[in-house]
């Protein structure tokens, strides 16, 4: 008996230490100076908690457990190491979905187990299972969309009603499971409903809003983990899950704010649906060739580069940095202007530029740089679209109306490097491209940057 008690004490103490490490790790991650240490702390907490769980009394199936951990761990390790920085957001979605799925699986085992639970326990188990399942299927859709596996935003009339009915059906089934325990057919129905709800909720949301949605699902998974923690009487899960639930909710709000969208708007409005009567953009796009751009840039005094996700997709950031160095050597003042949601989520572009070796002191936030466009000779827009669309300032009927943008249209000359004439991520026509001072340099970002480099060198 005494051995049993001391084993429990060891487990409880380890969970306690893990919880502390998680909290301090997250705290450290919220400042750039200590961020790297933060993830190591949290990682140590995870190792402690996982190892000590093997000592849990009354456990069997160790072999299966090791195989599952090995399989999941190795797959995630390899994919996480290999993924390009541009694809980071969808990987976060993928791993987050796995967490939600794991929480749902815990709920399923508890519900199928047929052990009589108290009311609170059943409610929490069912609730955690529902949230986890929604987070799982929703995150998978988010992953598929960002990965380009699903290209369209699927919408149909009455979608909101269908979603509402699905939600109602899920909640009713959940209620039935709480009252009537051990109804295994209904457990299956319940999870199917929740999974379908996650899919139909996420499908109509446009790619531009996906980061906010991923962040929301991240918070939801945290909550699901906390609920299942209550069911399993596992303090580490309760605390870590709740902390992530709260932190994730706050982070979701911050992101939505940076994009000037409310969360309700993101979830229910169906981005761009009501843009039917949007202002027609008049004028034409005027093409330009690389040699002309090279001359223009080489003899400019000040150039602001507006990089977007398209630049990163073309893997052009290294070439753009080379071009920047070349211009700076000629005495041109070159700066990078970063929109809060450049890339796929806030901070993503900073990560991508850092990878290419661009130093921090020439990268500026929207607030710092926006007043400088008026004095810039050239604004080079490469792979960015919606974040420089002046329609956001002028057209109240546009879905991006009110979103803070980079004032690239104030620059004396605007050069846009773009693959083709298509509209942006949000599918909205960009008025910037039609302005008198704008010239379009059609082509792949990396190829065009290389051409500019060789043209400038030849001057």
């Amino acid at each position: 008996m005494s051995e049993f008690v001391s084993m429990n004490t060891l487990i409880e103490t380890s969970y306690f230490i893990a919880a502390i490490l998680f909290i301090f790790g997250l705290k450290r991650m919220s400042s750039p100076v200590t961020a790297r240490g933060g993830i190591v702390w949290a990682g140590a907490g995870m190792v402690v908690a996982t190892v000590v769980t093997f000592l849990f009394p009354g456990m069997t199936n160790y072999v299966l457990m090791m195989i599952a951990i090995g399989l999941g761990g190795i797959l995630a390790w390899v994919s996480g190491k290999r993924v390009a920085m541009t694809d980071m957001p969808q990987m976060i979605a993928l791993y987050n979905g796995m967490g939600g799925g794991a929480a749902a699986a815990i709920a399923a085992v508890e519900l199928f187990g047929g052990v009589e639970h108290g009311l609170t326990f059943s409610v929490l188990a069912v609730l955690g299972g529902m949230i986890g399942a929604i987070s799982f299927s929703g995150s998978m859709i988010a992953f598929a969309k960002l990965q380009g596996l699903i290209n369209k935003s699927m919408r149909f009339k009455g979608q909101q009603v269908v979603n509402l009915l699905l939600l109602l059906a899920t909640v009713l089934t959940a209620g039935y499971l709480v009252v009537e325990q051990g109804a295994n057919d209904y457990v299956i129905l319940f999870f199917v409903l929740a999974l379908v709800l996650g899919i139909t909720m996420t499908l109509p949301i446009g790619g531009a809003d996906m980061p906010v949605v991923i962040s929301l699902y991240n918070a939801l998974t945290g909550l699901a983990v906390a609920f299942e923690g209550f069911v399993l009487q596992n303090e580490a899960m309760i605390i870590a899950g709740t902390v992530v639930g709260a932190a994730g909710t706050l982070l979701t709000q911050l992101m939505a704010k940076a994009m000037n969208r409310s969360l309700a708007n993101v979830l229910f409005s169906g981005f761009g649906v009501e843009s039917g009567e949007a202002m027609e953009v008049s004028g034409s796009m005027k093409p330009i060739e690389a040699p002309d751009v090279a001359v223009m840039m080489a003899f400019a005094e000040k150039i602001l580069i507006v990089p977007g996700y398209g630049m990163a997709v073309a893997q052009a950031q290294h070439k753009v940095w080379e071009l920047t160095q070349l211009l700076r050597d000629r005495g041109v003042d070159v700066k990078f202007a970063i929109h809060p949601v450049a890339g796929r989520m806030p901070g993503h572009m900073n990560v991508l530029l850092a990878e290419a070796g661009v130093p921090y002191d020439i990268i500026y936030d929207q607030e710092e740089i926006n007043s400088e466009f008026a004095t810039a000779d050239v604004a080079l827009v490469i792979g960015a679209n919606d974040v420089v669309n002046p329609i956001a300032r002028s057209d109240p009927s546009s879905p991006i109306y009110g979103m803070p943008i980079l004032n690239a249209d104030y620059a004396r000359n605007v050069i846009v490097i773009k693959r083709g004439q298509g509209a942006g991520f949000s599918g909205i026509e960009n008025a910037l491209f039609f302005l008198d001072q704008t010239r379009m340099l059609y082509g792949d970002g990396q190829a065009m940057a290389s051409e500019l480099i060789s043209e400038i060198k030849a001057l």
Partner: protein, 97 residues
């Protein structure tokens, strides 16, 4: 045994901690921080291990196995991805100074 109000207190306090810990974060850290918190809820692995450890029927075993597999993916993947991102923040800072 954690019951009723004790559970509620833990929940409330942890929620406050989560809210405070994030506080005022510069937007450049949003992505890594989201990734970091994504890693932290990988603790679900521990719960899935317990669920699998106590499973008896084939159905429970299969679901438990999937749970542990997914949980391990969440924890390991979340760590690797976050670490890679934050590593770059470090190098660019060092380059500057």
């Amino acid at each position: 045994m954690i019951d009723g109000f004790i559970a509620l207190y833990i929940f409330m306090l942890a929620a406050f901690v989560g809210h405070e810990v994030i506080g005022r974060v510069p937007s450049i850290l949003h992505t890594p921080l989201m990734s970091g918190s994504n890693f932290v809820h990988g603790i679900v692995l521990v719960g899935a291990m317990v669920a699998l450890g106590r499973a008896e029927t084939t159905l429970e075993l299969s679901i438990g196995f999937i749970g542990v597999f997914l949980g391990a993916g969440n924890a390991v993947g979340g760590y690797v991805v976050t670490e890679r991102m934050l590593e770059m923040f470090k190098s660019s800072k060092e380059k500057n100074s």
